[in-house]
Symmetry: C2
Subunit: 187 residues, 2 copies
């Protein structure tokens, strides 16, 4: 139990021991329900064959939702990014989870990512726009360039998220690149 | 799943989401084994009726071990402290888990702790020494005083862990209390 807990992100042997004792102290309120929830997730949660997100149904709830805009696909690196977009509650189109970013250093090539399926989806006649909501990192931007390239022969608009000052952010705490981008995109 | 993960010590909603995605990415190597390990622990791990530690057997492996010294009982606050003592590999006696420390602030009284059973065990004729390995905090020391008092009518030696400079510790990083204690106990 401690061995497997120590494999959680941010956990080491010490925090895993602490978590194990915490769970063992409340077997009925914490340990058994957590075990059941994890077993439930292990048996029921699958990757959506359309967008690559996680859900208990395939296609996932977002791909299957009738009310969402079919004409826009938002490409994100990870499912966590999709969840972050959904929490903002603003985007009402469809998603595509690329599954990471290209990285020469980590040996991640295009064939390791879920990009081919994105090109296929973007080629469908009803799709008008692909938003590349990839991380503003070197790898994320490399991936965005690569996908833009692959989409260039299609009749589809390719857009990126705007760079700028985070809402509530203080200028003094921002890096120079962000300030330069915010200045260049001023409106 | 995320709800229950967020109840782990040191976890909040954000780290719980991260952990959930980490587990879902490797359902067969991480998620299912963790679920099985937790379910196993939930069904098998019990508190030892003698010392209060956790084990799959009762009495626990340490209480049942024939090779350990029956004459010394080391009282600790929590099972984690027992594990820390065992990792040091030096103590070969028995343990008693008090289950916390007296705290007027948190409303923890003697009846909330596993102290009565410790007094009973210390009263057995073969027990010669009780080591109070409680935390060097105000609550821990209050508890130590209380237990010392309860043991005073018995023919048993009551000892405490030594205070001093931690092995590998630098004087410059130590608080004044520790330096004063280390000076007073110099040898």
């Amino acid at each position: 139990m401690i061995d497997f807990l120590s494999k959680l992100p941010g956990f080491g042997p010490r925090s895993a021991r602490r978590a194990a004792l915490h769970l063992l102290k409340k077997p009925d309120q914490l340990l058994a329900p957590l075990a059941a929830a994890l077993a439930d997730a292990a048996s029921k949660v699958r990757q959506c064959s359309t967008c690559g997100s996680f859900d208990t149904i395939d296609p996932c709830a977002i791909c299957a939702a009738p009310g969402r805009d079919e004409t826009i696909i938002c490409a994100v690196e990870e499912v966590g990014d999709l969840w972050a977009m959904e929490r903002s509650g603003v985007f009402r189109g469809r998603y595509h989870v690329v599954g990471g970013a290209l990285s020469a250093l980590d040996g991640v090539g295009p064939e390791d990512l879920n990009i081919g399926r994105l090109i296929d989806r973007a080629a469908q006649p009803h799709v008008q726009e692909v938003i590349l909501a990839l991380n503003a990192t070197v790898d994320g931007q490399t991936t965005a360039h690569y996908i833009t390239d692959r989409l260039s022969h299609l009749e589809v608009k390719v857009t990126h998220l705007a760079h700028g000052v985070p809402v509530g952010g203080e200028l003094d705490h921002l890096d120079d690149g962000t300030i330069a981008a915010a200045l260049a995109s001023r409106r």
